[in-house]
Amino acid sequence: MSAPQPDLQPNIRHYGDHAVLVEWNVDGFDAAVSDQVHALAARLRKTDLFIEVMPGYDSLVASFDGARMSVGAATRKVEDAMVRESRSETAAAGRLVNIPVTYGGADGPDLIAMAEHIGKTPEEVISLHSEPEYRVCMMGFIPGFAFLSEVDPILQHPRHATPRAVVPAGSVGIANWQTGIYGLESPGGWQIIGRTELDMFDATRKKPFLVEAGDRIRFVPK
């Protein structure tokens, strides 16, 4: 494996007195950075020194018990993990999960307006959105919400100025270059183009989460 490119070197910064932030600072989605984020997350989890290890798109936050180590010591632990990481292989590709989606209609109330706005037919939007394979980059803000990698540049579309009070669970949306799936019914401002009937999160299931960060997703139009 080649050495990391200089522009992929992240900054490690203090996040208060009991967390550190590792930040790559790239515009939009960068697959190589995402690989590094998840490889580092896996390595930090193995150390048992951190309470929360939270990968983001181009950053990672790791919190710890400030009584066990100082923020300076935590920074050094992360630096060590990154040095070792750069010598190891890339993270294993996650599982591929197919998500059946009903596009448009009541399930995708923003599909037609969005298609008109970008000068495409709804069918073209559906095929552009369901063609690529996406990566699950981050989970949250609520249980089961999957933040996915970049949509085709043609589909990039801003959030609603005023969020909807209720977005149903399973809704598939677009916000700028991000696409994502709502894990629970919640308020939300994303452009909703479809919905899956799969439960992204179900506390009563043996495996409550359908996908995890690092997995790959393909949308299958119904």
Binding site: Y15, A19, E52, G66, A67, G140, P143, L184
Partner: protein, 313 residues
């Protein structure tokens, strides 16, 4: 026969324990007692381990009937508490008999009162914790706040005896909460005026205050330039600064990611106070330097782990 009947659930009463840390990367917040210290004090006084499941009552209004002889303790927010119409003290183990009725009136200082019962409250477990998380209906009693007619069981047989804490150690709560904080990741992006306001002028907690967060009102806190932030991981105790200038303080049930500048982060030793922010309360931030934070935490931990075995902030 159940141990307790809920006659009135009050403003919002939930079952909480020490929470389910380690799952924020899945979108699951830690939850748990919003004020960990008062929760631990109540449990300690009734003879429980500090992290036994207990009731957390926001703002008051809870009425309970005990269906068997038991022992309880109340801690946290200053609420008038009565058993069968007689005033009772907070922060002390209280014997109760079958048929006794506990009523909590409105919280005067602080926001959340903790009601510990010897043996702990039985509730549904998820990811190793019975803490109630309302947005996803996790843990607790059907994942919701208590309501009239609910019956509660004990999670273990009451063991041990009531305990006391030495005089003078119970924290005082007031209508003005002061939180020590360090700068957050996007501190440098805030305008110089905003940086000064954060540490010099008080804020008011608005009615948009719950277990997820508290929207504050005060001097406008803005970033120097307009900037678009990618959604990024977020921790409880972080003050987020959206473009409208009114910051939001994330609490125990707060979102796991956010898209606004993370201006401040409350130090670990002061995070228990986040649970006592009530709507209308005054709130100030005090700067804490990097070198101070570990000393504050270690001193507090050393003291409280002597008083309450196993407890740390």
């Amino acid at each position: 026969m159940s141990a307790i009947t809920v006659l009135n659930g009050g403003t919002q009463t939930t079952v909480q324990d020490a929470g389910r840390p380690g799952h924020r990367h899945l979108g699951i917040p830690r939850s748990g007692a919003a004020d960990k210290l008062s929760f631990a004090i109540a449990n300690h006084l009734v003879g429980n381990d500090w992290d036994a499941p207990a009731l957390e009552c926001a703002l008051g209004g809870l009425h309970l009937r005990f269906e068997r002889d038991s022992r309880i303790a109340l801690s946290g927010a200053q609420m008038w508490a009565q058993i069968n119409g007689m005033n009772v003290d907070l922060n002390r183990a209280l014997p109760v008999e079958a048929g006794d009725i506990l009523t909590l009136s409105y919280a005067r200082d602080g926001c959340r009162g903790y009601i510990a019962v010897a043996g702990g409250i039985a509730a549904t477990e998820f990811l190793g914790s019975v803490s109630t998380y309302l947005p996803a209906a996790l843990g607790g009693i059907e994942g919701r706040a208590l309501k009239t007619g609910d019956t509660l069981d004990l999670s273990a047989d009451p063991a041990g005896e009531g305990r006391t804490l030495p005089k003078g150690y119970i924290p005082f709560l007031s209508g003005h909460i002061v939180l020590r904080a360090r700068s957050g990741p996007e501190w440098d992006l805030l305008s110089p005026d905003s940086q000064r306001y954060l540490f010099t002028t008080p804020f008011i907690a608005t009615p948009a205050t719950d277990r997820m967060g508290s929207r504050l009102r005060g001097d406008r806190i803005v970033t120097d330039k307009k900037f678009a932030m990618t959604s990024s991981p977020l921790l409880p105790g972080t003050l987020q600064c959206p473009p409208d200038g009114q910051p939001i303080l994330a609490l125990a049930d707060g979102h796991c990611t956010g898209g606004y500048a993370r201006g401040l982060h409350v130090i670990q030793a002061d995070q228990w106070l986040l649970g006592q922010i009530a709507p209308g309360m005054k709130l100030s931030f005090r700067r804490c330097f990097e070198e101070e934070a570990p000393d504050i935490l270690q001193t507090r931990n050393a003291l409280w782990s002597t008083l309450i075995p196993g407890f740390s902030f």
